[in-house]
Amino acid sequence: MIRLKIDHGKCTGCQECETACSMKHYTNEVNPKKSRIRVFEDEEEQRFFLIIAGPTTTAECTSKFDVVIAGQQYDGCTLCRSSCPARPWFTEPDTGVALKCDFCGDPPDPHCVKVCEKGALSIMEI
């Protein structure tokens, strides 16, 4: 099975993966808000988080609680990577349709991996 491997330490937050993803999945347009991969910045820790609209587990959602990391309170829900009707990440802003990473087809050829200059993204077989 193909998965995307993320090295958060290498990400510089440039969002090129977002533009590449949206360009790949839509006809002649660029729109990061329709990307299946999103970049968020943690200002306190001075690092970037890449989140992919990955596969969900069959288990019930258990992440809707506050997480405390280094004294800072986070909403666990915002960190979840699955498509969810309750949140705008990974749903089309205009239609509400859920977005899901498809590794850019078969054989897998993810555009986000191709454009990541710093090598934060790679494909791996598990």
Partner: protein, 611 residues
């Protein structure tokens, strides 16, 4: 035409209303977008003689066709207005994520007119545009402002996605060196554009966009993007030096060339420069490089320092932020005789939070230090002993400048007005009242001509001749001779105008052979507009001439195309030379098609369609 959104938001702050205008493609095409389009609008709509702080002056935010497309380094937007610092056309450029977000919201730019009665900020969420009260956070820093606007939004997901451009206390208090800060640490820095924003009582712009930028053919565009990225990766400056060490990689290079302004340009070599160089930053305070939107270079530096003023009593206090960049570290460092990296970084953070241009702020401190050392500026006015090398003085004076307290009140007016107040304007190192960046033209002649003729005053990013003279990016030239420099400066100035108008970052031009052809292929692939290289070349020339016309009508003359006395008369640099401006300036005028007074001829103007 794709790539452009085709719409501009016009906001009248006096009446508190707005409307959306379509851009006429025929009006747009000869100016491309960004700097070109913004300057054209300012030129057409604002009397160049206007008082920059009056309601008649306009403040224009403008993106380019490539902004937000995902082309490499396509993050830029411009802020265009009449400068309160220099009286020239002001046009400051910034990266980050604000510009692209504005385009995703559906607008190429925003024009602000009039003056609001009470402090306001502009809220844009796609089609939802609203002028809201900023009374609650007027007086706050740029960082506090951004946090405050986010915190007020009920929908926490939406709050995460907005991008904010704002001014700090410096802009509110009409400091002539105030800048506009977006994404907390990216600055449209020069020419005092933040003060114009403050005069309009406009505290911030918050924008979120969920829309799309159209492309004529995504496969062709993707191909052009990948090629441009290959070119950027292959360049030694853009592919290796900047990603690893940021812009401060220049410190040691410029110091070795003996053109590193030290002690307010009295000397051009700094013994302990390595302590403030990019290599040292990478080893000590750097947490992570940060890229602007779609940037493969990522020259931004996320840094952390412990409090330089904490002498070990109690627990150390830590500060986090972004920077310092080359100009900042050099002018706050060597030019103030300081090699304390933590202190420089702290002063840099302060500038970002207060909303002050780091180049102008640092140069003003350096001017104050020389005035103090020479006995022209008494200690009782300063409130401290401001010797060169005094790191505490740098931090304290920066803070005072931001708040306009004590001596900070006159310093906030910029270096020229400070030096003039104390009777020694010759100690101000700048042109057209804009403080000079950190390359001494006595050792790199072309930069002297560039400082003297740039349309916004002493500026390095209107024609970065250092690329060839020192770095040898496209071709290595001899920086000590004046032959051929007029043409070189003109060429650099014109291509820079095109890059600034396209929405690309100027750093693409630091990649070997990233010239008109590369820019053309990106713009055409994104827009389908079919620009020819000749057309782009003439766009660059047109913008340079248009800005010149604005300045001439504003009352500037040939006499303003000059350099500080120190650079023209006191020998310095690697060979103890002066800047031989008089050898280059007449040739430059001639190449530009201007008469001996630097006024564009009728022929030139009609050739460019400016009549």
């Amino acid at each position: 035409m794709e790539a452009w959104m085709g719409k501009i938001l016009r906001v009248n702050l006096s009446y508190g209303d707005y409307h959306i205008e379509e851009i006429d493609p025929d009006y747009l095409r000869p100016y491309l977008g960004g700097r070109g389009l913004g300057s054209k609008i300012l030129y057409d709509e604002v009397d160049p003689q206007v008082d920059p702080f009056s309601p008649e002056n306009k403040l224009i935010f403008m993106t380019g066709p490539l902004t937000g497309t995902g082309a490499p380094c396509s993050s830029r937007y411009m802020v265009i207005t009449k400068s309160p610092l220099s009286g020239t056309i002001a046009c400051s450029n910034s990266g980050g994520f604000f510009g692209p977000e504005l385009k995703f919201a559906g607008y190429d730019g925003i024009i602000f007119e009039g003056v609001a009665d009470e402090p306001v900020y502009l809220w844009i969420n796609d089609d939802e545009v609203e002028i809201r009260s900023a009374a609650e956070f007027w007086g706050k820093t740029t960082h506090e402002t951004e946090d405050f606007i986010r915190a007020k939004i009920e929908n926490k997901y939406l709050a995460k996605e907005i991008r904010v451009a704002s001014i700090g206390p410096a802009g509110e208090k009409l400091s002539r060196i105030a800048c506009v800060i977006n994404d907390k640490n990216r600055a449209a820095g020069r020419s005092g554009v933040g003060a114009v924003m403050g005069s309009k009582k406009l505290k911030a712009i918050a924008v979120r966009g969920t829309g799309k930028i159209m492309l004529p053919d995504k496969e062709a565009f993707h191909k052009a993007v990948l090629h441009a990225r290959d070119v950027i990766r292959a360049g030694p400056v853009t592919g290796e030096a900047l990603p690893a060490y940021g812009t401060a990689v220049l410190v040691n290079i410029i110091n070795e060339a003996k053109i590193l302004p030290t002690n307010n340009w009295q000397v051009t070599y700094f013994e302990t420069a390595n302590k403030i160089a990019g290599e040292t930053i990478a080893e000590t305070i750097l947490k992570r490089p940060k890229g602007c939107f779609a940037c493969p270079i990522a020259c931004g530096r996320l840094t952390e320092i412990s409090d330089p003023q904490n002498t070990g009593m109690g627990s150390p206090k830590y500060f986090k932020g972004e920077g310092p960049e080359y100009e900042t570290v050099e002018l706050m460092g060597a030019s103030c005789g300081i090699d304390n990296l933590a202190a420089i970084t702290k002063a840099n953070y302060l500038c970002n939070e207060m909303g002050m241009d780091t180049i102008s702020a640092a140069a003003t401190v350096a001017t104050a230090m020389e005035l103090y050392e020479k006995g022209y500026l008494p200690e009782k006015d300063l409130g401290l002993k401001a010797n060169f090398g005094n790191a505490d003085a740098l931090i304290i004076l920066t803070e005072k400048m931001g708040k306009r307290e004590g001596i900070g009140d006159i310093m906030a007016e910029g270096g020229y007005r400070l030096a003039e107040q104390y009777g020694h304007p010759e100690l101000f190192m700048g042109v057209k009242k804009l403080e000079a960046p950190a390359y001494d033209p006595r050792g790199v002649q072309s930069m002297g001509l560039q400082y003297a003729t740039s349309n916004r005053g002493a500026c390095h990013v209107r024609g970065y001749a250092i690329a060839n003279e020192i770095l040898g990016v496209h071709v290595k030239t001899d920086p000590l001779i004046t032959e051929g420099k007029a043409e070189m400066v003109k060429t650099f100035q014109d291509i820079t105008a095109v890059i600034d108008s396209s929405g690309l970052c100027l750093f693409v031009a630091l990649a070997t052979n990233f010239l008109y052809e590369e820019i053309q292929s990106l713009i055409n692939a994104a827009s389908g507009a079919g620009y020819t290289v000749d057309e782009l070349v003439s766009i660059g020339e047109r913008i340079s001439n248009l800005e010149r016309l604005f300045n001439l009508k504003a009352g500037l003359t040939k006499a303003d195309d000059t350099l500080p006395k120190r650079l023209l008369e006191e020998p310095g640099g690697p060979k103890g030379d002066v800047c031989r401006l008089n050898e280059m300036l007449p040739e430059y005028y001639q190449l530009r098609g201007w008469d001996e007074n630097g006024v564009p001829t009728t022929d030139k103007l009609s050739g460019l369609g400016l009549q």
